[in-house]
């Protein structure tokens, strides 16, 4: 039985690709055969985050248009044999993703993969709509910030009305909230929306809270999903989120400001 998961947000720059890469790597390392598909046609970046940008020969649109078959376009991750990447095309044609084409490819992938992660582009255009249309589950990535929360609510509305499950009156897409760039100090000082604030507004299952962490940037610089950095707070939080996704009960961590010792307070650091 395979599951199609869309990683979406509406707003750009909140961490969708970072999340797709880390959740995908986490599921694969837990032994589940996983593929991550980049739906950002014209602006592909998953390949860079996954460190396979120089191995792209064929892409998603080549497969839809019949210029290549799936096995030629799928890139096997060098760090984890259960993880594959399907890169986006750099074409400018926004309508290259057709419902039939995407549906056929996803159906073929369900024969081989346990988890199919659709990394959505920002916005609510064709690419974003196609990324969420076939989803069984959705991970909505949200920053504790007004425009991101509003856009997330908008995307939740689209999941509830325009997805395949909604159109066919099936059981609705299972929604999960993933809060990224959480800053415990700023929440404590009253200058950032808290988890409870966001929960009060969006009211969906909380999959995880990823703290603001410099290792997110260093990991992407090096082409490693941040979940592989097992000492970083972001990496550990993604690992927790993967565990919860797989049904484990794991308490949320890193929600309170780090209490600095007297030496740190005197000398900084």
């Amino acid at each position: 039985m395979s599951e199609i998961i869309v990683v979406t947000s509406g707003k750009g720059g909140v961490g969708k690709t970072t999340t797709s890469a880390s959740i995908g790597m986490g599921l694969a390392r837990a032994g589940h055969k996983t593929v991550i598909i980049d739906f950002d046609i014209g602006l592909r970046n998953l390949d860079l985050i996954m460190n396979c940008e120089r191995r792209v020969v064929f892409d998603f649109v080549n497969v839809i248009q019949g210029d290549a078959n799936l096995s030629q376009a799928l890139i096997k991750d060098k760090r984890c044999s259960d993880l594959f990447i399907l890169p986006a095309s750099q074409t400018k044609d926004k309508n290259a993703l057709t419902k039939e084409g995407v549906g056929d490819i996803l159906e073929e992938l369900t024969k081989d993969f346990e988890y199919i992660i659709c990394d959505s582009p920002a916005g609510i255009e064709q690419g974003a709509l196609m990324a969420l249309y076939f989803a069984d589950q959705a991970i909505v990535v949200t920053n504790p910030e007004v425009s991101s929360v509003r856009d997330s609510d908008r995307i939740l509305g689209i999941l509830q009305s325009k997805s395949r499950r909604a159109e066919l009156n099936m059981e609705p897409v299972k929604e999960h909230l993933l809060i990224t760039r959480y800053h415990a100090e700023r929440v404590e000082s009253g200058d950032m929306l808290s988890i409870d604030d966001i929960n009060d507004i969006l009211a969906i299952d909380l999959l995880g809270i990823i703290p603001e962490d410099t290792s997110v940037l260093t990991s992407s610089n090096e082409g490693n999903p941040v979940i592989m950095n097992e000492v970083s707070t972001a990496g550990q939080s993604y690992q927790d989120a993967v565990g919860r996704f797989l049904g484990q009960e794991i308490p949320h961590r890193f929600l309170d400001p780090e209490r600095k010792g007297i030496l740190k307070r005197m000398f900084g650091g």
Binding site: R150, G157, V187, G190, D191, D197
Partner: protein, 82 residues
């Protein structure tokens, strides 16, 4: 008021302002999503009729559809100028 309370900033924290603004706009947008598609056209027509007699702006007309048991209630609120 306690001694320390005096020094507290009385201005509401920005996160609280953010939450209040979000609650209002999100509720408004959810209502609009669940509203029938003819509602905005109806609102424009009503506005045009009222404008024939009184000078009002679009934001002075509020139309709201709610569900009560098996009936839909269409509620219209027009604020007339003094």
């Amino acid at each position: 008021m306690s001694l320390f309370g005096r020094f507290k900033d009385t201005k509401p924290k920005s996160a609280r302002v953010a939450k209040e603004r979000l609650q209002i706009i999100v509720a408004h947008e959810r209502n609009r999503r669940s509203a029938p598609s003819y509602l905005s056209a109806l609102q424009n027509d009503i506005l045009a009729v009222v404008k024939k007699y009184v000078d009002i702006d679009a934001d002075q007309i509020h139309i709201h559809v709610s569900q009560k048991n098996n009936t839909s209630v269409l509620e219209m609120n027009v604020s007339l100028p003094e």
